[in-house]
């Protein structure tokens, strides 16, 4: 699938929208309007934007707790995302999930799962479901480098290979699991090597360059769809902000952050679009303005949305 101009512009818009959404979320958090934990996706926008742009509508996406960006890429309305952050009835999970637990199954986004690594076996199960029902779908499972040190990762990768499940494992290696650098937590610092132990083909991809992510994802998804079984991508990225809003950031210095910020994925894509004459400066300015306005409108929407009704407390504990 060759990217046309419309799709390029949409991807650029999504990246900027994520950036603005996360900046606004940080402000709302600091004002005390958002409770709990807040994990921002700033710096990692090219990963999920490029990856999810390469999926077909029937392909399922499941991720960990750093899920706002993924939600945007899956097409969840920014109104409902911010409403969820504010715990409102109009939120994607009716205000019952919060930042870490967003999902919209109508858009094949199966959540935001907040126990590290715990959703990898679920992803194997989603893929198993499609295999069992003979659906031509791929499950895309995103997780951080930290998740590759817990048993669930290993159980899920093993099962996916044994059963030849249509699942694409995507490790977003942002160098740190909370405040612990990969080298201090993982026996191999090149995470993709762990896939070798399960005979799962794999590759490492530059996650600051959306075109690299998109092209690798397109190939990987089609490869999985062809019935060859699972595949693992390790996408190298960096979060510009702390692990969560409560991060003292004692584990890395400003120079390192600055070095990575010089490779801002939005800046790289911006330059690419201009250089390839896919878009002009004015068009990109327009998209940036639209993203800003959309986030503004979403905050207004969320503020004016009702709180969940008290009877919601006891609703949906069971389906029967």
């Amino acid at each position: 699938m060759k990217l046309n101009q419309k799709k390029h512009l949409d991807m650029y818009y999504q990246m900027v929208l994520i950036r603005r959404l996360e900046e606004r979320a940080a402000e709302l958090y600091q004002k005390g309007e958002i409770g709990g934990f807040l994990h921002l996706y700033i710096g990692q926008e090219a990963v999920s934007t490029g990856l999810i742009a390469a999926r077909l509508p029937q392909d399922r996406v499941i991720t960990a707790y750093r899920d706002h960006g993924v939600a945007v890429n899956c097409g969840l309305p920014v109104n409902a995302i911010i409403a969820e952050l504010l715990g409102k009835a109009t939120g994607v999970s009716k205000g019952k999930g919060g930042s870490m637990h967003m999902a919209d199954t109508t858009r094949n986004f199966w959540g935001g799962h907040a126990i590290v690594g715990s959703h990898l076996p679920l992803a194997a199960g989603l893929a198993l479901g499609d295999q069992y029902s003979k659906q031509d779908a791929v499950t895309i499972c995103m997780f951080g480098d930290g998740a590759t040190n817990i048993g669930y990762f290993h159980e899920a990768l093993n099962l996916s290979k044994v059963w030849k499940l249509p699942v694409l494992w995507v490790c977003e290696n942002n160098r740190y699991g909370m405040g612990t650098i990969v080298e201090n937590a993982s026996a191999v610092s090149e995470i993709r090597q762990k896939a070798e132990g399960y005979a799962i083909p794999n590759e490492r991809v530059d996650g600051m360059d959306i075109m690299a992510v998109y092209e690798a994802s397109l190939k990987a998804i089609e490869r999985v769809r062809s019935g060859e079984g699972p595949y693992l991508m390790e996408i190298m990225t960096y979060r510009f902000r702390g692990h969560s809003m409560g991060d003292p950031e004692r584990y890395r210095d400003q120079a390192e952050i600055k070095k990575w910020q010089e490779q801002d994925p939005i800046g790289i894509y911006h330059a690419y679009l201009l250089e390839k004459k896919i878009a002009g400066q004015e068009e990109l300015d327009g998209l940036e303005k639209r993203a800003e306005e959309d986030v503004d409108a979403a905050v207004v929407f969320a503020h004016s949305s009702p709180e969940p009704a008290p009877e919601e407390l006891y609703k949906d504990i069971y389906a029967d």
């Binding site: 009716k94 019952k96 992803a123 194997a124 159980e155 069971y318």
Partner: protein
């Protein structure tokens, strides 16, 4: 009616549901070629094939996690965890995922999932393979916990569990597979979350479930010889808990003994007795007694193991105490 063993009743429920609905499939350790560690799925692999009777690696988190994921796609997996002791390896998926996803995502999808497992001591398997931790699982809203004590209930409740859109932990007892009982002919199911009076009586209420039911019914027979008529209430489902038959019975007998195989501390008996005190305090004629496992890791030695497990004489003694109270 026909007489079946517990094993046959459970096996029939699975078989009939798999015949009825192609979205039902089984996954677990040794469920296929081996035929199930407790032989419940014997013959299934040959009849339904490897696609629907899936042997898994020894990886409980993967088994339960994959079953959850498959249920999210609309299938009705029946995951077998070889013994409930191994369910601790999948605890995260049972309590942090299965029990919460429907609620946490605002009811967007259902989890029609059954986890069949086997609990209980009495087979000299030592401390790690003999536990009855049912109460732990019953602690979590969002999970349904079923533990039948008769073949009729086992078949009917397992069918209901498979047809349910909620995650159900279905706990069988390791020493009860050969227990025989009358089972209705043809297709039937028994609703989850409904307790049942298994033996009527007027003098004392014995509340129990699973293996404890077997012991309680034996005790009731003994008591009857002494002219004491015990009413035995079988919880059948630990969550959601149906207290109505317990409270109604207690209001008639004013005395209760609760029998469980698990440890007494923080257990099923603690819950049931509290509920009776909360809901029927004015009817209490004697302090409620609990019969449960001694507070030790279950030992291997046969005599020590039997000392630690609740026995019929323990129930008889407790009943006599509440009657004299």
């Amino acid at each position: 009616m026909t007489r079946l063993t517990m094993r046959e009743a459970i096996s029939q429920a699975l078989w009939e549901e798999m015949e009825r609905d192609t979205s039902v499939f089984i996954l677990g350790e040794e469920v296929g070629v081996w035929g199930g560690t407790y032989a419940v799925t014997k013959g299934f692999y040959d009849h339904f094939g490897a696609g629907r009777v899936k042997d898994t690696p020894i990886a409980e988190a993967a088994i339960v996690g994959a079953a959850i994921g498959a249920a999210m796609t609309g299938l009705r997996p029946v995951a077998e965890i070889m013994t409930i002791n191994f369910a601790f390896s999948a605890m995260d998926h049972i309590v942090n995922e299965a029990a919460k996803l429907h609620y946490m995502f605002g009811g967007q999808f259902v989890l029609p999932l059954v986890i069949r497992t086997v609990g209980g001591g009495g087979r000299q398997l030592g401390a790690t393979h003999s536990q009855t931790p049912d109460a732990i699982f019953a602690h979590f809203p969002g999970l349904k916990v079923v533990a039948p004590g008769t073949p009729e209930d086992a078949k009917g409740l397992l069918k209901a569990a498979i047809r349910s859109n909620d995650p159900v932990l279905f706990i069988e007892h390791a020493t009860m597979y050969q227990v025989r009982g009358e089972v209705p002919e043809g297709d039937y199911s028994i609703p989850i979350g409904v307790s049942k009076i298994q033996r009527p009586g007027k003098d004392v209420t014995i509340v129990s479930y699973s293996k404890g039911l077997e012991l309680s019914l034996k005790a009731a027979e003994e008591l009857s010889k002494d002219g004491i008529e015990a009413e035995v209430v079988d919880l059948r489902t630990l969550r959601p808990l149906d207290m109505d038959p317990v409270i109604e019975s207690f209001k008639r007998t004013n005395r209760a003994v609760i029998v469980e195989e698990g440890w007494k501390s923080y257990g099923v008996g603690a819950e049931i007795s509290s509920r009776i005190y909360e809901e029927a305090f004015d009817y209490v004629d004697a302090p409620i007694k609990r019969v449960a496992q001694k507070e030790v890791p279950l030992p291997y030695n046969r005599d020590l193991e039997q000392m630690a497990l609740p026995q019929v004489p323990d129930i008889l003694a407790a009943v006599k105490e509440v009657l004299n109270g």
